[in-house]
């Protein structure tokens, strides 16, 4: 998607406000408009036989929400023992899905000028999910494609 789109339109589309979070040492952002809410760790119901990126199901005020572990989704090593993940609940075409992340960051305003396409040699597991990179002053903000993240058929190494 990002590979074929001209750089110019990318810029106009991807600037704006981002909700940020950390997964391992990666700093991610998703469009603030598609974030429904942020929650502490919730009790979860395991789903036996489900793909392993699915951590379980949580009850979000009567709505059943699937929790996707971002560490596993990005093929990263598991969280250190005792560190409870946070829920970042995003709205997708298929309803709300919770992304389990290490830590929640601030909501950031970013400038379109700081945008760049992701490097070509990005790891396969991450390449499909990262739409672009914002060069912030002290670090890089990776733009997560929420739709592709929750679509388990995308970007998952066979």
């Amino acid at each position: 998607m990002a590979a074929t789109a001209p750089a110019k339109s990318d810029r106009s589309q991807t600037s704006g406000q981002f909700s940020t979070f950390f997964v391992a040492d990666l700093f991610f952002g998703v469009d603030v408009l598609c974030v429904q809410e942020v929650l502490r760790f919730q009790q979860m119901t395991r789903v036996p036989q489900a793909p392993e990126v699915i951590e379980g199901l949580i009850n979000l005020r009567g709505q059943i929400v699937t929790a996707v572990d971002m560490r596993r989704r990005l093929c990263l090593p598991p969280r250190a023992g005792g560190q409870a993940p946070m829920n970042m609940v995003v709205r997708t075409e298929d309803g709300a899905v919770s992304l389990l992340v290490d830590e929640i960051g601030d909501v950031l305003d970013v400038e379109a000028a700081a945008y760049e396409r992701p490097p070509e040699n990005l790891d396969r597991a991450a390449k499909d999910l990262i739409r672009g990179v914002y060069k912030l002053k002290d670090r890089l903000l990776l733009v997560l494609d929420a739709e592709r993240t929750v679509d388990l058929t995308a970007g998952w190494p066979a």
Partner: protein
């Protein structure tokens, strides 16, 4: 009262439809090439015409019929869309509104001032290519200001504008609430319930009178609120069915047919959204059945059917779905005609037509604009209908299935998922997790304690089976199926007996909790591929629990081997109506390496040490459950001349057969396997003790003639129940597959050929297709009772002589019915009494055929 209800609904719906037409027509003018939009307008107009037709509003019907004709020409590309044409149709809309207002006020359509409009519509439709003359300037295609040239009343036009401004009072009396809002309310109530539970918990820990009183009140209100909100979403399907008797009656009268409408399961609750979505398709299907399906009385009589046709509507929950069936006993669908029509329409090439399977041919009726009706009538025949039905049902995730037999009728089955229906479910635990099993799939719960657990779960070639009342039940372990941790071997084994697609299996779980009403919620698309779950639900403590898909679990574990698609398709019908699908126990004896008996006849499998076998009265016996079990050495019966093996097997493998309170053990060399097969015995054998051979699991197996073997060896075996059964065919009509199985196993045992039917229709079908000697029917046979079957049978001469045994649920009922239309009436689960009665009927039959060939054995 009911008519008022119907008319009010009609008004609300028509106002909605008209508003939509306004919008769509204006939109269409902007995009004249938009075929989907045009189709939608056409359907809306068709619906209006249809509903007007039911309620006998002839003016409205005439107008909308003409407008529909025009639209149909547009849709088929036979004419161009002009602004004048749009104006004409918009005028129709306005006039329709006017008439609706009159209906609302007085209940009548009022004087027909609209001859002029009808005439112009008719002319327009007739002169396909000529421009439509409409006496308004072409530049103003807006919906307002229809010309006042009808009836010459200048006030009319003004009045119509006033009417348009003053919206309908009936439409205002109802508030249409978005389903999204109801969903949200429902979720919030769920949350409230959880909070309430916490507060109640809190309350028990403290002793505070004020808190106590308040929380009790909170409890009460929450419960009521919950019920109320649930009710807003759930409605019995009877809501939609209510208006159908009238529809059918009117159609029947106008078509000169006699149709009896039967409705079964009208209390089946459906989600509001689903009710809305199936309303129109149902009406379409019923109209179709009346118009195309059912024949006129003269033809029916000529075909040997009663002049009055039956149209059956049936609704029931099954396996997490709601099934709705529309069954008629009319002419059926002529597949050849379907193909021919498709070729004429150009949607199918001639050479393709030949290659179509029956199923594919049947699907032709779902093409847009398809109709085989010879002429366009006002009832149907325009080809709207089946494509609309299909698209509406598929929109809510359902499936439409049409099956038909030429000359016998058509069945349309709608399978609708109940994403939000509330169902009772059993909560079980396994591997530390909770799961819910839909109650509909549940037959019974079994708890095996202490010693009995090892005795009762046995292995057939590594496959665990349980002996359940004379038949073997394959077993699956939920922990294994889902890859969960197994707990320490506990005191007892808990097993739930489940049924999916007519087959049963036992599922061993760690624990069985209780039953609850649960709200089914769908799983996210990330878990689409998981066949083990039907959805999820939220439990009382606020945590999520998964709902098991019984069919999926059965297939994953291998106890139900057949693929889902296959099982859902036609094969199910076959297997259960014909009873050909059989579970077979395969074993080895002597030089026969593969012998088979139906598993339903087997009571138990046992192993006895050689040392426990004793001699009594010249034959070998073994002490078994405080009784003496005679043993029949199969090898010696089949091959009397062969020498005894030097080294007899130890322990001895024994298959136990039961008859009434007597048991016989058959000694075999080795138990091989349990197979499920569609078996027809191909090659007859003359060898004593064998019925013939057939292919089972790709290899040939010999079928044991159990009667002959046991009789030869155990002498008086079977005498008790009489043996006139051999060769007789018996039709067992009973709704519950489980009870049917019980009855069947008893009859099988004595050597009757058993046909099964689950309902009146299936029973009649079986009678038509197979020769039947005796009918055994449940008093409560769906849809309306076994008496209906008796009536049906008394109508046809060739069925009049068939004796009928009715089965009642209780002894009182059986006595009360003793002298009714049946030959005999017995209690359903009293197997011996039933067998005795059947034997008596068979004996009576035999003596009436050829005096005394077979002597009744009873008493």
């Amino acid at each position: 009262m009911q008519d008022n209800e119907v008319i009010r609904e009609f008004l609300v719906e028509s106002h909605e439809n008209l508003s939509r037409l306004d919008q769509e027509l204006v939109e269409l003018e902007k995009h004249p090439q938009d075929a989907a939009l045009l189709a939608s307008i056409f359907r809306t107009m068709h619906t209006i015409k249809g509903t007007c037709g039911f309620l006998a509003f002839s003016t409205l019907e005439a107008i909308s019929h003409q407008a529909e004709s025009l639209l149909s020409q547009l849709r088929d590309g036979e004419r161009e869309l002009t602004p004048a044409l749009v104006s004409l149709i918009l005028e129709t809309v306005d006039v329709t509104r006017k008439v609706l207002a009159s209906i609302e006020e007085s209940g009548e359509e009022g004087p027909d001032h609209f001859e002029g409009l009808t005439e112009r519509l008719r002319n327009a439709a007739r002169s396909k290519t000529a421009p439509v003359r409409v006496p308004i300037p072409e530049a103003s295609p807006a919906p307002a200001s229809p010309p006042a040239d009808d009836g010459g009343e200048p006030a009319e036009a003004k009045k119509s504008e006033e009417d348009a401004a003053k919206s309908s009072a009936v439409a205002d009396a109802n508030i249409r609430v978005g389903v999204g809002l109801l969903d949200k309310l429902m979720d919030l109530v769920g949350e409230l319930v959880l909070t309430r539970n916490q507060i109640l918990q809190f309350n028990t820990e403290r002793e505070d009178a004020a808190l106590n009183a308040t929380s009790q009140r909170l409890n009460l209100i929450t419960t009521e609120l919950q019920e109320g909100v649930m009710k807003t979403r759930m409605q019995p399907i009877g809501m939609v069915w209510n208006k159908l008797p009238r529809v059918v009656r009117d159609l029947a009268v106008s078509l000169g047919k006699q149709i009896r409408l039967e409705m079964d399961g009208s209390a089946t609750e459906l989600d509001r959204t689903i009710i809305e979505a199936i309303k129109d398709p149902l009406v379409h299907l019923v109209r179709n059945a009346c118009d195309h399906g059912v024949e006129v009385p003269e033809i029916r009589v000529r075909m040997g059917k009663p002049p009055q046709a039956r149209l059956i509507l049936r609704a029931y929950h099954e396996g997490g779905q709601v099934n709705i069936e529309i069954v008629d006993d009319g002419a059926g669908i002529d597949l050849e005609r379907l193909k021919q029509r498709a070729v004429e329409r150009g949607t199918l090439r001639l050479e393709q037509a030949g290659a179509l399977s029956d199923r594919e041919a049947m699907n032709l009726i779902f093409q847009a604009g398809f109709s085989t009706a010879k002429g366009v009538s006002k009832v149907s025949g325009r080809g709207v209908g089946m494509d609309v039905v299909k698209s509406n049902i598929e929109k809510i995730g359902g499936v439409v299935d049409v099956s038909s037999r030429a000359g016998e009728g058509t069945t349309v089955k709608l399978k609708i998922p109940l994403t939000l229906a509330i169902i009772p479910g059993l909560v079980v635990t396994s591997g530390g997790e909770r799961f819910v099993i839909p109650q509909v799939s549940l037959l019974e719960l079994i708890r095996l304690e202490g010693d009995s657990r090892d005795k009762h779960i046995e292995y057939v070639h590594g496959t665990p089976v349980y002996r359940r009342r004379g038949s073997l039940l394959p077993i699956a372990y939920l922990n294994q199926v889902l890859g969960l941790q197994s707990p320490e071997r506990g005191e007892a084994v808990s097993m739930v007996v489940l049924q999916a697609e007519e087959r049963q299996f036992g599922l061993v779980v760690d624990g069985i909790n209780d039953t609850q009403e649960i709200v089914v919620k769908p799983l996210g698309k990330q878990m689409k591929g998981l066949t083990a779950y039907a959805g999820a639900t939220i439990m009382g403590d606020g945590r999520v629990a998964l709902i098991l898909d019984v069919l999926g679990i059965g297939q994953r574990s291998g106890v139900l081997a057949e693929s889902r698609e296959q099982a859902r398709g036609g094969s199910k019908q076959m297997a259960h109506a014909g009873g050909e699908q059989q579970r077979l126990l395969l074993f080895r004896a002597g030089s026969f390496s593969r012998l088979a008996v139906p598993l339903s006849l087997v009571a138990r499998l046992e192993e006895f040490p050689q040392s426990s076998i004793e001699e009594a009265g010249g034959s070998r016996v073994v002490q078994y459950r405080n009784r003496i079990l005679p043993l029949v050495p199969l090898r010696a019966v089949l091959e009397p001349d062969a020498a005894e093996p030097d080294q007899p097997a130890d322990p001895v493998q024994v298959i136990v057969f039961n008859n009434g309170d007597r048991s016989v053990g058959m000694v075999v060399d080795q138990i091989l396997d349990v197979a499920e097969e569609n078996v027809t015995v191909r090659q007859k054998t003359v060898r004593k003790g064998l019925l013939g051979s057939a292919v089972v699991g790709k290899r040939v197996a010999d079928f044991l003639d159990l009667n002959a073997v046991l009789r030869a060896a155990a002498g008086d075996w079977l005498q008790a129940a009489g043996s006139c059964g051999v060769g007789r065919s018996i039709l067992v009509a009973e709704a519950s597959p489980f009870s049917r199985g019980l009855i069947r196993s008893g009859l099988d045992m004595v050597g009757y050929r058993v046909l099964e039917a689950g309902s009146l229709d299936e029973a009649v079908r079986a009678l038509q297709q197979h020769p039947v000697d005796i009918v055994v029917t449940a008093i409560d046979l769906p849809p309306v009772g076994g008496a209906a079957l008796v009536r049906e049978m008394r109508l046809r001469q060739e069925w009049q002589g068939i004796p009928i045994l009715a089965l009642a649920d209780s002894a009182e009922e059986a006595r009360a019915r003793q002298n009714a239309d049946f030959q005999d009436c017995q209690v359903k689960f009293d197997r011996d009494a039933m067998l005795e009665s059947v034997a008596r009927l068979a004996a009576a039959l035999a003596s009436s055929e050829t005096a005394g060939v077979c002597v009744g054995e009873e008493q």
